[in-house]
């Protein structure tokens, strides 16, 4: 071991090494190495991946469809509708005798897709406005910031109810509302980054080369804040999932027969007093697992992409 160390410090060895490593590590390669050193984040990736696979392919393993009512257990849910491999109700049945496993698969699809799709669009919008506000500054900046602050001041649940009163309740409407409410996601962080980066001397150099504003943003500003945006995305997705669950839990989000984690948890919580704990436990567990894994992944990404913050 010691002799190896001495060898590593010798001049010849470092020269040899330098000859070999012509292509050195880029920021993203370094970040990947740091991310994989964070064991909780890696474990969380596996858990999240399993939940996503469950949402996509879980339906193929269901013995019952999510609409079908198992008449044989209706009325005796507490005693006969419990989770069981034999009956094919892996997670038991819900209050109406529907297969909870199939319902959870269905709810996971809705929750995850709403969370991911709405977050991505909200972030694209927030990042774009943030970049514009930060790069051009002055009056435009003031207007964009003002608009974002006004939106935050509107109670989103009321907005939700009013919107749905006009356009009806469906998953796609849910996504649209979610994007509208979160249109300024990440705006502040992107704006701050752009304001900081546009003062950097390498951006001055790019201006002197004759790059247009758009080229400067694309080539010199965006790559330098992608890390921050990725971190922010990992924080926005669980937030939007949580948000969707809250509105659905309160009964203004998704509508029967469609369902989501929030709605399933709400139903489960309502029937818990009848002793059907599984109706609450399965959706709640999957929801909690998703949130916790997303949290750890976000944490790992922050450590990996923003190393000076540690």
């Amino acid at each position: 071991m010691n002799s190896f160390r001495t060898k590593m410090r010798s001049k010849a060895f470092s020269e040899e090494l330098a000859e070999e490593i012509i292509q050195s590590n880029s920021f993203w390669q370094d970040a990947r190495i740091r991310f994989f050193q964070n064991k909780m984040a890696v474990l969380s990736c596996f858990i999240l991946l399993s939940i996503v696979l469950f949402a996509i392919f879980g339906g193929y393993f269901a013995q019952w469809s999510n609409e079908e009512i198992d008449w044989s257990v209706l009325g005796k849910v507490k005693t006969e509708g419990m989770p069981s491999i034999a009956s094919g109700h892996y997670f038991g049945v819900d209050e109406l005798g529907r297969d909870l496993y199939a319902r959870v698969v269905q709810g996971s699809r809705v929750s995850l897709s709403v969370g991911v799709i709405a977050s991505i669009f909200a972030l694209i919008s927030g990042a774009t406005w943030g970049a514009i506000a930060g790069y051009y500054g002055k009056r435009l900046d003031a207007v964009i910031l003002g608009a974002s602050q006004i939106t935050t001041a509107i109670p989103y649940i009321i907005f939700f109810v009013v919107w749905q009163a006009f356009f009806g309740r469906s998953t796609s409407q849910l996504i649209i509302v979610m994007i509208l409410v979160n249109w300024s996601a990440g705006l502040f962080i992107v704006r701050g980054q752009v304001m900081m980066l546009k003062e950097k001397e390498f951006v001055d150099a790019a201006r002197l080369m004759g790059l247009s504003d758009f080229q400067i943003i694309r080539k010199h500003i965006l790559p330098n804040m992608l890390g921050i945006v990725v971190i922010y995305a990992s924080l926005t997705i669980p937030e939007v999932i949580m948000f969707e669950s809250i509105v659905s839990f309160l009964g203004v989000g998704i509508q029967e027969p469609a369902t989501s984690w929030g709605k399933l948890i709400a139903e489960g919580a309502r029937t818990m007093q009848f002793g059907t704990l599984w109706q609450f436990a399965f959706p709640a567990a999957i929801f909690a697992l998703t949130q916790i894994s997303l949290y750890y992944i976000g944490d790992g990404l922050r450590d990996a992409l923003d190393p000076k913050d540690r």
């Binding site: 330098a18 000859e19 012509i22 292509q23 050195s24 590590n25 880029s26 920021f27 950097k200 001397e201 390498f202 001055d204 150099a205 790019a206 201006r207 002197l208 080369m209 004759g210 790059l211 080539k219 010199h220 790559p223 330098n224």
Partner: protein, 322 residues
């Protein structure tokens, strides 16, 4: 000798918002107040002054990175309009700049080779990728970056090496004028000399004209043909480098020179003290800019701002030049 760059009565003013109502007019910060000079082909103009004297803003304004509020900048007799897209592109070929912070002046997400190649696509759009590569290789080789490091990222280099890469990026588009904004003040003494020597060699090889901004009069004197002394955004004195050092006419230049530490323990320097604080650039004195701290100030200095006048080989803005 022909005049390559001509700057006339350049002013840069920044608006400083001071709170108050949204319609309250912003304060005016006058960073540069009426600078004029001509730069001859192949010559170096040194700009010296203390922090806050507007010397960096001056060359940023010449490069179009700070807004001119008044005055003109012309290259080869042609007035530069920074808003004109076509003219802006031409700037690439006539003006380039190197910066104070060598590491921050390189994009951390690009390899050295990418950084140095980038200007070519704007300066020589007809070049093939292979020609670009060859040119970048030659340029990097010239500034002393070894080929096995071309694929590395800026953070893997020392400050001196980053400044060399910055020089390569600035010179690869074959500009006629190189603007240097304190290029060596962040570097160690032994590295400073390397970079200064490299700049002087490249200047001779490429026939460059340079504007070299620094607070270190020693280095400016070494590299420059002419020196312009700035104080509070205004021109105090300009002349040949030797004249400025051997026989300064303006009391500010004299004070500046007397304060420079000499690396010779047998020579005791007797610095002239400048009393008083630097006035705020948002509320400039109505008279001579230097009057508040000048040991020779008289009543007229408080009321009338002296114009640049010629005394021998010097142009001096002072009522009582020596």
């Amino acid at each position: 000798m022909s005049t390559l760059l001509s700057v006339r009565d350049l002013h840069v003013t920044f608006d400083i918002s001071q709170g108050g109502w949204p319609w309250t007019p912003p304060k005016k910060l006058r960073a540069v107040n009426g600078i004029s000079f001509d730069l001859q082909a192949g010559q170096t103009l040194g700009v010296v002054g203390e922090s806050g004297c507007g010397k960096s803003t001056l060359i940023r304004a010449i490069a179009g990175l700070a807004p001119l509020s008044d005055g003109t900048v012309s290259v080869n007799g042609q007035d530069i309009n920074y808003a004109d897209k076509a003219q802006k592109k031409k700037l690439v070929q006539s003006l380039q700049m190197i910066f104070q912070d060598p590491i921050a002046s390189l994009n951390p997400r690009m390899t050295v080779l990418e950084i140095v190649q980038e200007p070519l696509q704007f300066a020589f759009p007809d070049m093939t990728p292979d020609e670009r590569r060859k040119k970048a290789f030659a340029m990097l080789d010239r500034v002393g970056i070894s080929q096995r490091n071309f694929g590395r990222y800026p953070h893997e280099f020392s400050g001196g090496q980053c400044q060399r890469i910055g020089i390569a990026r600035a010179l690869i588009s074959e500009p006629k004028i190189l603007l240097c904004d304190e290029p060596v003040s962040a570097l160690d003494v032994s590295i400073q000399a390397q970079v200064v020597n490299l700049l002087m060699e490249l200047q001779a090889e490429m026939g460059l004209s340079m504007i070299f901004v620094a607070h270190d009069l020693g280095i400016v004197h070494h590299i420059s043909d002419d020196i312009l002394v700035m104080y509070l955004g205004g021109m105090m004195e300009t002349s040949g480098a030797r004249n400025i050092v051997s026989g300064p006419k303006h009391p500010y230049t004299q004070a500046l020179l007397s304060a420079i530490p000499v690396p010779d323990p047998h020579k005791k320097i007797t610095p002239q003290t400048l009393d008083g604080d630097l006035p705020s650039p948002t509320a400039l004195p109505t008279g001579c800019l230097f009057a508040t701290r000048c040991p020779k100030a008289q009543a007229i200095c408080q009321t009338d701002r002296p114009q640049l006048g010629t005394i021998g080989a010097h142009d001096v803005a002072c009522h009582f030049p020596s």
